[in-house]
């Protein structure tokens, strides 16, 4: 019993050190990674863990879960990030970020990947 509590405490501490990494309910990190590669996100963004993703058009996306505002306009919540990825121009008409034609589920997977990166 005591050992179990100890392990639970260790897990909690380990979790604390990556508090920035937010869980995205229903989002799949691996699927998100595949969507990011296929959609060419890396042509504009520097994305940790994606081969060749060293674009310098938009902001780098490492630690994006820690940022407070998305695209300079939206509070950084999971639902807002999904909306932004699905159709950024509808939220911010002057943005360079295109509507990539992703479904809501695909956008959720992308957010899961991005939020999983410290």
């Amino acid at each position: 019993m005591r050992r179990r509590v100890f392990v639970a405490a260790l897990v909690a501490i380990a979790g604390c050190s990556r508090a920035e990494a937010r869980a995205v309910p229903g989002g799949d990190v691996d699927r998100g990674k595949a969507v990011i590669v296929a959609s060419g996100c890396g042509a504009c963004h520097d994305i940790d863990g994606i081969e060749g993703a060293r674009g310098k058009v938009g902001p780098p996306l490492d630690g994006v879960a820690e940022r407070s505002v998305i695209g300079g306009v939206l509070p950084n919540t999971v639902d807002n990030m999904i909306r932004w990825i699905e159709d950024a121009p509808s939220i911010s008409p002057h943005t360079a970020m295109p509507n990539l034609g992703l479904s809501s589920a695909q956008a959720r997977d992308v957010v899961a990947y991005l939020y999983s990166r410290p």
Partner: protein, 315 residues
């Protein structure tokens, strides 16, 4: 080994199979020689240690030097030369090619021209060739700048692109598929981003591709795409690029008439997609530093989106 598209061990043509066989001959032979040399060396070390004295080479004469150092390598090299002649053998030109493709190397992309039966240019594209499967295809290679080398390991050995000269190659894919190619002669800082794709497909699919590629760029009624087209022909883009059917006819950069249909952008730098097209237009120098396409910093966000939407629509 089959997972790597640039592997020489998953050949898809007779010519590439000869290269694969030669590679195995050389690997096995090298391994035998390597083991022989190491074993001989270890024996010498052990013997010397047991005697406690240095080996006097003169007492044994020059047998080892003559036989092991001269005669045996000579035999091995001559044998390898004879074996490799098979892989280098000139391809048969007995059957006339079904398709003739002219490829011109540029720093750092491949210009591709298909000619019709009369030798006239029928289709121009870049960084991607399509060929009918099981048909001999003639590829005529030259370059506009430095020496490049055309290498599609699953289909053929390498052949250089020489300034002021043409080289002639045959490709014949034995199975359909998409095969990767690369420049195999160092040609400048973006040599590694000078890739191409070879799509081998059925006669009907190849015919449909040629027919589609020979049409002019699609005109769309969509307002964003029309705005992108307008930007393309009135700003810097049209000074280097062609989109047939639009007023853009410069040819110092890849023809973009059907860029939306291609597998990759910037000679294999990025998988093709709307997002990749926009990122490439907005800041190519971040993705392929030194490429001839400049980072313009001239377009607003909506303009970039319109340009990307236009080019992506050019299927």
């Amino acid at each position: 080994m089959t997972g790597n598209p640039l592997s020489i061990f998953s050949s898809a043509s007779d010519a590439a199979a000869r290269v694969t066989r030669l590679a195995w001959v050389m690997i096995v032979l090298s391994a035998i020689i390597f083991v022989g040399v190491v074993v001989t060396m270890l024996l010498a070390v052990r013997r010397n240690r047991r005697n406690g004295t240095a080996v006097d080479l003169t007492e044994r004469g020059n047998g080892w030097l003559i036989w092991g150092g001269t005669v045996m390598p000579g035999i091995v090299l001559v044998a390898l030369f004879i074996v490799s002649l098979g892989a280098m053998s000139k391809y048969s030109t007995a059957t006339p090619p079904a398709v003739t493709i002219h490829i011109t190397g540029h720093q750092w992309w491949w210009q591709v021209d298909y000619t019709d039966a009369a030798g006239m240019r029928a289709v121009r594209t870049a960084n991607e060739i399509h060929i009918p499967v099981n048909k001999p295809v003639r590829v005529i290679l030259t370059t506009s700048d430095v020496i490049h080398s055309f290498w599609v390991p699953q289909l053929q050995g390498k052949l250089d692109l020489i300034p002021g000269d043409t080289n002639d190659l045959r490709l014949e894919a034995k199975r359909p598929g998409t095969f990767a190619g690369a420049c195999a002669e160092f040609c400048g800082p973006q040599h590694a981003h000078m890739m191409l794709s070879v799509v081998a497909e059925s006669d009907s699919a190849f015919g449909a591709w040629i027919a589609a590629q020979s049409t002019d760029g699609i005109q769309s009624a969509d307002s964003t795409i029309a705005a992108g087209r307008q930007l393309f022909v009135t700003t810097e883009c049209a000074q280097c690029h062609t989109v047939r059917g639009a007023v853009a006819r410069a040819d110092s950069a890849p023809d973009l008439t059907h860029v939306g249909s291609r597998l990759t952008l910037a000679a294999g730098t990025l998988p093709n997609s709307l997002g990749a097209i926009e990122g490439w237009i907005a800041n190519p120098q971040a993705l392929k530093p030194g490429a001839k396409m400049p980072t313009l910093r001239a377009y607003t966000g909506p303009e970039l989106r319109a340009l990307a939407a236009y080019l992506e629509s050019l299927k």
